[in-house]
């Protein structure tokens, strides 16, 4: 593999002729920034009284060569900014610097947006691309890149259903498009694949989201779930800078479920309830919860000049969880060097990132949380002999013991090293070559002491495990871009090749029966279970490759008619021999009505653009080797008194396995009016996934297994998205921008069959309650949306406390007589509508950001109520509401069951974030120290308030996959966070 990789790199290098010739003459260089210090890309630079012109690049840099010595006035203009000019003197053969800070007039309109393999001005974009810059990010501490843009982009759902400091955000874009394929979006960091957690939030300059198929198709098979393009902050040369960005914060559980106390137990026991009074008083939730602190410190430096400059940053991020010992710590160091030579004919860039992550592996916190909820409040934490008080009840452990007697550490390390070179042999042509690797590895350990239930109850005498894994992703990409204007015609053409390979390896060992618990997991060999064959030892390795050829052409006629077409021809090793390659085309066009005379006569319209596009993207299966006929060693077999390894087929091979294709049509309008006070866009789309990957049920025999991953089925999502932003005040002292967005999506599984596979049924089940109820929660059916809850519809309760449910003829029957045939659709777990309202106020030095968002028209299956709102189960604690009458009649007197009574409307409206900031004014700054350019203090609150009728802890539950809308009983509770932060730039 390695040699092939180098081969390809070498060949590509041949394809890029390097031509450069140094020239001797005067130059003017500089950086165009906003008055707030953010780069202004694509600003027009002119040297007054000469023909010298330049356009700043994406980070505001510009350079003008061939300047005769003399004194000049350099003027910079950019849409949305007021023009500004500065004086500069050019010496013979020297380089003069002219940095220009433009005052903001109306942002947005001419913002440069990063699109796939390049960037475009917003006005030139022909497809649905949303972009959020750091000014507009959700203020306050961010869990990952996605939480910076939560509620900012219509159609992009960002949820944080877990309070676990190790958990990330969940993203969904324009509905569920796949059943069995990957569901995570493609995240590119400065063009290189990564993840939402790769770059610390303070280092991010902007995030673009390629929402529709025509924008994303150039990324082919990885793009169906959307593409997030993260651009990192980079120093612009000249003056060295130093910036500190940090916060400290505190969290609390967002909502504590209301379980019975010891006093309740005693009162109810005296009323005849079958509780056991053990004579103590314990608040089990409080025994494992805490108010944790978190902090983050980010220090970044930048320097150099226009020719060579560097950016570096170090981020320390430490978050504690609300459960004792739960934590997460990340240290990220980044460096980026840009180098420009030969009058800009050669640009080179080297970047590296090193990230370590450490956390306490600890127990399964969801399980410990369940134990705290259900444990008898009249019990005690410790027994008289100092051991943890345990009881024999089924699935019942002391939660404090679980947390205290387990030790473990996880250390993850990621290293990303990338380099790129761009040559511009002539003005209109450039070639880029990017290559590099991302290596991740982790080592974790986990051990329980002799006081843990593994030993006290299960007699394992200490358990310990070590796990390690590594993944290496390598990438090589080359592109050539040709851009030229012929009169009124402006062309840009791009072609490229991309090679990526991925290797994943893992090693796991566990042991128990230790002579001592002193060593933890540091001496696995001292246990005996592994050599007795009772503990496990395993290793694994998988890999795959992805190769693509792509091209794209943009045509622009007078900035009035815009057309973009692209194709990607991509191959993935995971497919059948004859189906490795797929073609992913896209075509989109836009008409800028605002450039037409009839609209120009309406001076209040600043910009109006109609656009439409069609694009095909793909999804590949998440596992390798599915097309192969192969055997694996598995179950052992007693042969002649010896256990020998059986060799059995690994799977039903599907040599016809091929791409899942998503075809998407998107039509939209972008508008900007009233001196660009009012901006926004509306998009309507239809996305249809064909040849959808599905684990198809097949007859055994002739098949070896009862299911095969095959390309069957079609899924459709239709939706509409709208965004509007309005500058209510634009004064020098007072500014208020308010923006709102809304989206609506409907989903339908259209078919689940093709020529080869014709199912006899149109439905399959998904999700599960787990024990002791043991029922599936959802059903997926052709002709219906994904996410339907499916079970018995309860309508009443009889005098004996038994559920009355509807049978298939909608007749009321006791639940004991209900059959699986009587189940029906009880709701849907995917919100149909999302909305958000963001406000940004600024009064002199004070700023206030308020973000609100909500999800509507969906249901949640409340597991907590389903399991703990039943007074019949008295060996575990229960919710106080268990004693409330059901349907206004009486409490339940029936075993735990999955009925519609526990399905609730999940609609919510959240006050997601409020941040109040104060920036030190220039006078104060100069008084403090002349070198401070910017200083801001802020306080921020997250997840402050939720308006909802939902009775569970938090209606922001996972809404992805085939069983959305489940509020698990072991859910790590969400938190409310308050932080105090500070930013200082020098």
């Amino acid at each position: 593999m390695r040699t092939r990789f180098i081969d390809c790199a070498f060949l590509f290098a041949l394809a890029v002729p390097i031509v450069a010739r140094a020239q001797a003459n005067g130059r003017i260089t500089g950086v165009v920034t906003s008055d707030a210090g953010h780069p202004v890309p694509r600003a027009q630079i002119s040297v007054l009284a000469t023909q010298l012109r330049a356009t700043a690049d994406s980070v505001g840099r510009y350079a003008i060569s061939n300047v005769p010595p003399g004194r000049y006035t350099v003027r910079a203009t950019s849409l949305g900014y007021g023009p500004l000019q500065v004086e500069v003197t050019v010496a013979a053969g020297g380089t003069a610097t002219a940095d220009i800070r433009l005052p903001v007039v109306a942002a947005k309109l001419d913002q440069v947006v990063v699109v796939g393999y390049g960037e475009q001005r917003r006005s030139e974009i022909t497809s649905a691309v949303a972009s959020v810059t750091s000014d507009e990010f959700v203020q306050g501490p961010a869990r990952d890149a996605a939480s910076l843009i939560a509620g900012k982009i219509p159609g992009l759902g960002v949820t944080t259903p877990s309070g676990d400091p190790r958990a990330g955000s969940q993203i969904s874009l324009r509905g569920v498009t796949t059943i069995q394929g990957a569901t995570s979006p493609l995240v590119l960091i400065d063009g290189i694949p990564g993840s939402l957690e790769t770059v610390p939030a303070p280092d991010i300059a902007s995030i673009s989201v390629l929402k529709d198929g025509s924008a994303a198709a150039v990324y082919g098979s990885r793009a169906s779930n959307g593409v997030l393009l993260i651009t990192t902050k980079r120093h612009q040369g000249n003056k060295p800078t130093l910036r500190y960005d940090g916060f400290v914060g505190q969290q609390q559980i967002y909502n504590r479920p209301d379980f019975l106390t010891a006093a309740d137990y005693r009162r109810l026991k005296s009323n005849g309830m079958g509780f056991e009074d053990l004579g103590f008083n314990t608040d089990w939730e409080a025994a494992i919860l805490r108010s944790p602190a978190s902090q983050r410190h980010n220090l970044s430096i930048g320097g150099g000049d226009v020719g060579t400059n560097y950016t570096g940053s170090v981020t320390y991020d430490k978050a504690q969880g609300i459960f004792l010992r739960s934590d997460n710590q990340e240290v990220t160091a980044r460096g980026d060097i840009r180098h420009s030579m030969f009058n800009g004919k050669l640009d080179a860039n080297m970047s590296f990132l090193s990230r370590t992550q450490d956390y306490f592996t600890g127990p399964d916190y969801g399980w410990a949380w369940r134990q705290a909820l259900i444990r008898n409040p009249t019990d005690r934490v410790s027994a008289d002999d100092g051991s943890w008080q345990e009881r024999g009840t089924y699935m019942y452990n002391n939660p404090v013991g679980l947390l205290d007697e387990q030790n473990g550490a996880y250390e993850g390390r990621d290293t990303r090293v990338y380099g790129s070179a761009t040559v511009r042999p002539i003005e209109s042509l450039h070639f880029s070559l990017t290559g590099g690797t991302s290596r991740g590895s982790f080592l974790s350990g986990n051990a329980t002491t002799f006081k843990h239930v593994n030993t006290t109850l299960n007699g394992q005498n200490g358990t310990a495990a070590r796990n390690t894994g590594s993944n290496v992703d390598r990438i090589l990409e080359g592109t050539g871009t040709f851009a030229k204007a012929f009169g009124r015609h402006d062309f840009t053409a791009l072609a490229g090749y991309s090679y990526q390979d991925f290797i994943n390896e893992s090693f796991n060992a566990s042991n128990f029966q230790f002579p001592t618990d002193l060593f933890g997991y540091d001496a696995l060999q001292s246990g005996t279970a592994l050599t007795d064959g009772k503990a496990s030892l395993s290793s694994n390795k998988t890999g795959y490759k992805l190769i693509g050829f792509f091209d794209r052409v943009n045509y622009d006629w007078q900035n009035r008619f815009l057309v973009m077409g692209s194709t990607r021809y991509e191959g993935n090793s995971r497919f059948g021999a004859d189906h490795k390659w797929g073609l992913f085309p896209a075509l989109s066009a836009a008409w800028r009505l605002s450039e037409e005379g009839f609209v120009r006569r309406l001076p209040w319209i600043n910009d109006l653009k109609l656009r439409t596009g069609y694009g095909v993207t793909g999804i590949a299966p998440t596992s390798s080797y599915l097309s192969l006929t192969s055997y694996s060693y598995g179950q052992k077999f007693l042969y002649n008194g010896q256990w020998v390894q059986g060799l059995a087929p690994a799977r039903n091979p599907n040599p016809d396995l091929r791409w899942e294709e998503k075809r998407e049509v998107n039509t939209g309008v972008d508008y900007s009016m009233f001196e660009s006070r009012l901006n926004g866009s509306v998009d309507v789309y239809r996305r249809e996934t064909r040849n959808m990957l599905y684990n198809y049920s097949v007859p055994v025999p002739p098949y070896l297994f009862s299911s095969i991953l095959a390309n069957v089925g079609t899924m459709r999502n239709n939706g509409i998205e709208a965004q509007v932003a309005y500058d209510v005040f634009r004064g020098r002292d007072l500014r208020w921008t308010t923006s709102a967005n809304w989206s609506r999506n409907t989903n339908q599984l259209v078919t689940l069959s093709n020529d080869t596979f014709q199912p006899q049924t149109d439905c399959f089940f998904a999700g599960g309650t787990g024990e002791p109820i043991q029922a599936s929660t959802h059903r997926v059916c052709v002709g219906q949306p994904i996410g339907n809850f499916f079970g018995w519809k309860s309508v009443d309760i009889d005098t004996a406390g038994q559920w009355i449910v509807l049978d298939k003829n909608n007749t009321r029957i006791p639940i004991a007589k209900a059959t699986p045939d009587d189940r029906q659709v009880l709701g849907n777990g995917i919100p149909k509508q999302f909305a958000a309202w963001n406000n940004s106020f600024r009064f002199r030095n004070v700023d206030l950001d308020v973000n609100m968002r909500g999800a509507f028209q969906f249901q949640i299956l409340n597991f907590q109520r389903m399991f703990y709102e039943n007074p019949k189960v008295t060996q575990y604690n229960m919710l106080r509401s268990a004693l409330d009458p059901v349907y206004g009649k009486r409490p339940v007197n029936y075993d735990l069951a999955y009925v519609s009574y526990y399905i609730e409307n999940g609609d919510y409206w959240k006050l997601d974030n409020v941040t109040l900031g104060y920036s030190l004014g220039p006078a104060l700054l100069s008084h403090l120290s002349g070198s401070v350019t910017n200083a801001r203090l802020y306080v921020s609150g997250r997840n402050l308030l939720t308006l909802t009728g939902y009775k569970g802890m938090d209606p922001e539950v996972p809404t992805d996959g085939l069983s959305p809308g489940i509020d698990q009983r072991d859910q790590y509770p969400t938190t409310r966070t308050f932080t105090f932060g500070m930013t200082i730039s020098f």
């Binding site: 590509f12 064959g533 009772k534 090793s573």
Partner: protein
């Protein structure tokens, strides 16, 4: 411009080289942890590994989760899985078995179906690989291994014959056609023919070398079992063939009854003298046996010093317990009764009474202790499942004798089996006569009401001896005591006409078509050739 064109040319040519270089577009894949046809050339030494998948599904078939020990018993009159304080409602799945309300979605029979075909597929595959030369073996091995695989396959088909009746017969691994359904008669004929054809070719070895696999006598015993039920499968009894085959086994003198009833169910039952064919389990190497977890209650972990905490659900039906002679050693060898507590007092005082399927405490009904429970036992048991015991050979022979009018000869065999169950002062009770066996059953069939009284229905009038009308009912009782919780009961009740005609515990008859299960919904949905069994 010329310069530009020349550069463009270089780029195009280089691009072509890039494409032409296969390594830059090569997407073939080689798994790191699996063997493929390309990298694996099997030899005779791989034979054990290759035939393994034909046998290993049997482990889940018998003592695994949703295994035959569950549903062959829960559908019958000895064993129930009522709701417990820790659950066991599970969406009504066990109650449906008890009440004979299962449908084509019922998990337990559906799992049996897929496990059988998984084993059949594996047998077909290896038979094909041997016959086509993919696995090179000498002629002798080819004959014996093929015969053994056909015998295993016939055994799977005999399970399908008993549980589903009308199922597809597939013997060709290379066929890609969706299989056609056969009738129960065709399936019966196939199973009988296969066993007859391969028996002479099978190994005559006994003991360790063949333990866990089918030898000649095991094949004869399994065929005898098919013949014994022939009247159910085809309407035509084949009792003379049962007599011939059982005589062959008895006459061979290779197996005998163990001295004690518990020996064939001990942790070391691979040493038992009476097991003709077993499914070997091992807590480490073959860890599917979790029946003990399903029947033992959570706190029994302390009583038996187990490493795992059992889940505790299933227990005895009180009516069946009432049928035992209290001196029958098999009562206490099979059921965990009375006070079971550790030194600290943790445990239960088990009672026979069970209020109802819907409400019980942990101590209601006796858990099964027949399969040895041992100190340090984990979630998977070491005890092997005896598919065919010598006592069954004797009892099959006895039943054939009884049904062909040779009651006293039958009684002699039954007495032989009973002798180890009645010890000391009760030894005389071991002897039964032909007249005894001709009597009805002592099982008091009827609805067991919440007050513990057997009635005609819930709240109805009490019933006394609701089994007296069963022909050879006493012999059925003998089968119940000897083979309790061995997964035979459903088949036996069907053969004696009880399965769909009698009430027991909270069960009332619910259709005579329930002598076979429904063809699984998943099979119906994936094979349009399949017609659902009558009644479903």
């Amino acid at each position: 411009m010329r310069q530009f064109i020349s550069k463009l040319a270089v780029a195009v040519v280089s691009g072509a080289v890039l494409l032409g270089n296969a390594s830059c577009t090569d997407l073939s894949e080689t798994p790191f942890t699996e063997v493929t046809q390309a990298n694996f050339k099997p030899t005779a030494t791989d034979l054990a590994a290759l035939i393994a998948p034909a046998y290993t599904p049997l482990r889940s078939v018998w003592m695994g989760w949703y295994g035959m020990l569950d549903f062959q018993e829960e559908t019958a009159d000895e064993f129930i899985t009522p709701v417990r304080p820790n659950g066991w409602y599970d969406g009504g799945v066990y109650i449906r078995l008890h009440e004979h309300r299962w449908d084509p979605s019922q998990g337990e029979p559906n799992q049996l179906w897929s496990l059988c075909y998984s084993g059949i597929n594996a047998a077909n595959r290896v038979i094909y690989q041997i016959s086509s030369g993919v696995i090179p073996v000498d002629t002798g091995t080819k004959t014996s291994v093929t015969a053994e695989l056909r015998a295993v396959r016939a055994y799977y088909y005999s399970l399908l014959l008993d549980n589903f009746g009308n199922v597809p017969i597939v013997t060709d691994f290379t066929s890609v056609d969706v299989p056609k359904q056969s009738t129960r008669q065709e399936l019966y004929d196939f199973v009988v023919k296969e066993f007859i054809d391969v028996t002479p070719l099978l190994s005559t070895q006994t003991g360790t070398p063949i333990y866990g696999r089918i030898n000649q006598l095991a094949a004869k015993g399994l065929l005898a079992r098919v013949y014994l039920n022939a009247s159910v499968y085809t309407g035509t009894p084949q009792l003379d063939k049962v007599l011939t085959l059982t005589q062959d086994i008895v006459g061979a003198g290779k197996y005998k009854l163990d001295a004690t009833y518990s020996t064939p169910f001990a942790r070391t039952n691979d040493q038992s003298a009476e097991i003709l064919f077993a499914v070997p389990y091992d807590a480490i190497n073959a860890n599917q046996s979790n029946f003990h977890m399903k029947t033992l209650k959570p706190d029994l972990r302390f009583v038996f010093n187990m490493q795992a905490q059992p889940w505790g659900g299933s227990a005895s039906n009180p009516q069946f317990i009432d049928t035992y002679d209290r001196d029958d050693g098999r009562l206490t060898d099979t059921w965990l009764m009375g006070t079971q507590r550790d030194a600290q007092g943790r445990g239960y005082d088990f009672v026979e009474a069970v209020p109802s399927m819907m409400k019980t405490d942990f101590y209601n009904g006796y858990p099964v202790k027949k399969y040895e429970i041992y100190s340090g036992e984990t979630g998977s048991s070491d005890v092997d499942y005896p598919v065919l015991r010598y006592s069954e050979v004797l009892m099959m022979r006895a039943e054939a004798l009884l049904r062909t009018g040779q009651g006293d000869a039958a009684a002699a065999l039954v007495t032989q089996v009973r002798q180890r169950a009645f010890k000391g002062a009760a030894a005389a009770k071991a002897t039964v006569t032909g007249a005894d066996l001709a009597k009805g059953s002592v099982y008091n069939y009827g609805w067991e009401d919440t007050d513990g009284v057997v009635k005609t229905a819930a709240g109805g009038t009490p019933v006394v001896n609701g089994g007296s009308d069963i022909q050879f009912g006493r012999f059925l009782d003998e089968l119940g005591w000897e083979f309790a919780i061995e997964g035979h009961r459903r088949t036996d009740l069907i053969r004696f006409g009880v399965f769909t005609s009698k009430k027991w515990f909270n069960h009332a008859p619910n259709g005579t078509f329930r002598t076979v299960f429904a063809i699984p919904i998943t099979a119906i949905q994936t094979n349009a050739n399949l017609k659902q069994n009558t009644g479903y």
